[in-house]
Amino acid sequence: MTGEHIHTIAPMPTKKTVRRRTSVPMQAYRFAVVSLRMLKMIRRTHMT
């Protein structure tokens, strides 16, 4: 197909990485981290 991009150099995640993305305990922890990150961004942005 014209314009098709083949992602040759992009790294594939390992099985462990893919598993961790939907592991409930791990993601509960990541949820806390991401929420904090978002809150920090919101705080910074709402200062203006």
Binding site: M1, T2, G3, E4, H5, H7, I9, A10, P11, M12, P13, V18, R20, R21, T22, S23, V24, M26, Q27, A28, R30, F31, V33, V34, S35, R37, M38, K40, M41, I42, R44, T45, H46, T48
Partner: protein
């Protein structure tokens, strides 16, 4: 008594209306003019488009909310602005045309002391022959009705796959100058996820068709992150996801036309090709709503108020410049019209000074690069800040806007769904600071790479789901709504 008229009850206009009502004393009037009876939390239309949500979950009637808040709601569309007033009347006014059942087509002239244009985008399907669900051959998820229709077509595709047929699903943007690549990305991966969880993925080919120069551009020129001691890019990160999930990508493409089952496109290198499809969801390019403007004598001043794209000119630097001369300071801060100090434009309705991604065009001049996105968070923040400025102008007699919301000074949090499901869903949670790169402040990458982050996982899906409920709660102006940040 002052009257503030807000045109549009979407993310930016509705936010402005609620804050204005909160900040202004009762004797002042807040009027909202919007053609649809409903508020739509547009980001969740993606989930309607894959059948995970019903339209009733992403929209609700505005009239009861405005009644409760004592906001005057006119179910109508604005058609013309008279910023200097008309004839002997020196007060600014806007002509509206009712869409309310029973009053359809009835025209009225509403005077205002302050006007906020928050009319969002006109979905410009007409820019590409054959594009769109109404007069064309492709689908959309831009409105709840479009998304519902798309979900029904997806069910048909799923049935065919179940019966052993092969199907090609094309998802992307339907014109070289589109914005909203993030929404196309979300829909592509949600569709891919739905097919995978049903065990049908091997019979389906999912193709992402985009005007982006590289994957991960998202109309913001991509992002750089710090990860494990390296600076990596959203390009590598996005390509990895495409590789992992087996989604084919056609980049740097401008859709020329859509015919039944076939999309014709050209790429930046001038090549032309056609792709057959069984299902195609292609987002339209955006332009400003069709609003006219007149001076007091009735002379047409539309081109003074609006840019050629139909978006309203505000306090930005619109001087044409080359990409390398663009500056963060070109971006508007207060969203006030340079000519009329009581007229503002927020959200998608303001005219950006230039794209964020590097522009590209073919040798014959076809533009193939994303227009700058104005996503939910900045749109809502503009709504709140402009409401604060107007409140200060009314309450304290300030002569100029007192609050700012430059996209080159604010960050954004963005959660892009890559598949729904409370246990198996995933989404990419991203933060970036600032939205518009500032190469003066951050010479290396244009953004603060410590505050520009991204990760994919189930946590992102939970976050997106939570945001859906939180923002609908806020939009309904339920108790404590104003404590929920934009």
């Amino acid at each position: 008594m002052a009257r503030v008229v807000i045109l549009g009850a979407g993310i930016s206009g509705h936010t402005a209306a609620l804050h204005l009502r909160r900040l202004l004393k009762k004797q002042h009037e807040v009027v909202v003019v919007s053609p649809s009876p409903d508020y739509n939390w547009i980001p969740s239309n993606i989930w309607v488009g894959v059948g995970r949500m019903k339209t009733g979950q992403v929209k609700f009637p505005l009239a009861p909310v405005y009644r409760k808040k004592k906001i005057d709601f006119r179910q109508a569309k604005a058609v013309a602005i008279w910023p200097e007033g008309a004839g002997d009347n020196h007060t600014g006014a806007v002509d509206i045309e009712y869409t309310l059942p029973g009053r359809e087509g009835e025209r009225q002239r509403l005077s205002y002391d302050f006007l906020v244009n928050a009319t969002g985008p006109k979905l410009n399907f007409a820019a590409t022959p054959g594009l769109g669900p109404d007069a064309g051959f492709s689908l959309s998820v831009c409105t709840p009705a479009h998304a519902e229709q798309t979900a029904a077509r997806l069910v048909e595709v799923i049935k065919k796959l179940e019966s052993g047929e092969r199907q090609r699903l094309v998802v992307g943007v339907g014109h070289g100058a589109c914005t909203c690549e993030g929404a196309a990305f979300e829909y592509a991966f949600n569709v891919e996820h739905e097919l995978r969880v049903r065990g049908l993925r091997d019979r389906a080919e999912v193709v992402y068709l985009t005007n982006e120069y590289e994957l991960g551009d998202f109309g913001v020129g991509g992002m750089s992150f710090e990860q494990d001691g390296y600076v990596t890019s959203s390009q590598l990160w996005t390509e990895s996801l495409f590789k992992e999930r087996g989604v084919r990508a056609i980049l740097r493409a401008h859709v020329q036309r859509v015919e039944p089952g076939k999309v014709f496109y050209e790429t930046l290198d001038g090549e032309e090709d056609a792709l057959s499809f069984d299902f195609a969801m292609l987002l339209p390019p955006f332009r400003g709503q069709e609003l006219e403007a007149f001076d007091r004598a009735g002379g047409d001043i539309t081109s003074e108020l609006f840019a050629a794209s139909g978006f309203m000119k505000v306090d930005a630097d619109y001087t044409p410049k080359g990409y390398d001369e663009w500056q963060a300071a070109d971006w508007p801060r207060t969203y006030v019209s340079p000519k009329y100090p009581n007229v503002f434009a927020i959200g998608i309705a303001f005219a950006p000074p230039h794209p964020i991604s590097r522009p590209h065009s073919t040798s014959s001049g076809t533009v193939i690069s994303p227009a700058p996105p104005r996503t939910g968070m900045p749109s809502a923040i503009m709504g709140r800040q402009v409401a604060r400025s107007i409140a200060d102008m009314v309450n304290k007699g300030k002569g100029a806007p007192t609050h700012t919301a430059s996209m080159a000074e604010m960050g954004a949090g963005c959660v892009a769904s890559a598949g729904a499901g409370i246990m198996h869903g995933t989404a990419a949670s991203m933060t970036m600071y600032p939205i518009v790169p500032d190469h003066g402040k951050f010479p290396d990458y244009g953004r603060n790479i410590k505050q520009t982050t991204g990760e994919i996982g189930l946590a992102g899906h939970w976050m997106k789901h939570l945001l859906h409920h939180m923002f609908i709660y806020k939009a309904k102006a339920r108790p404590g709504w104003s404590f929920i940040p934009e």
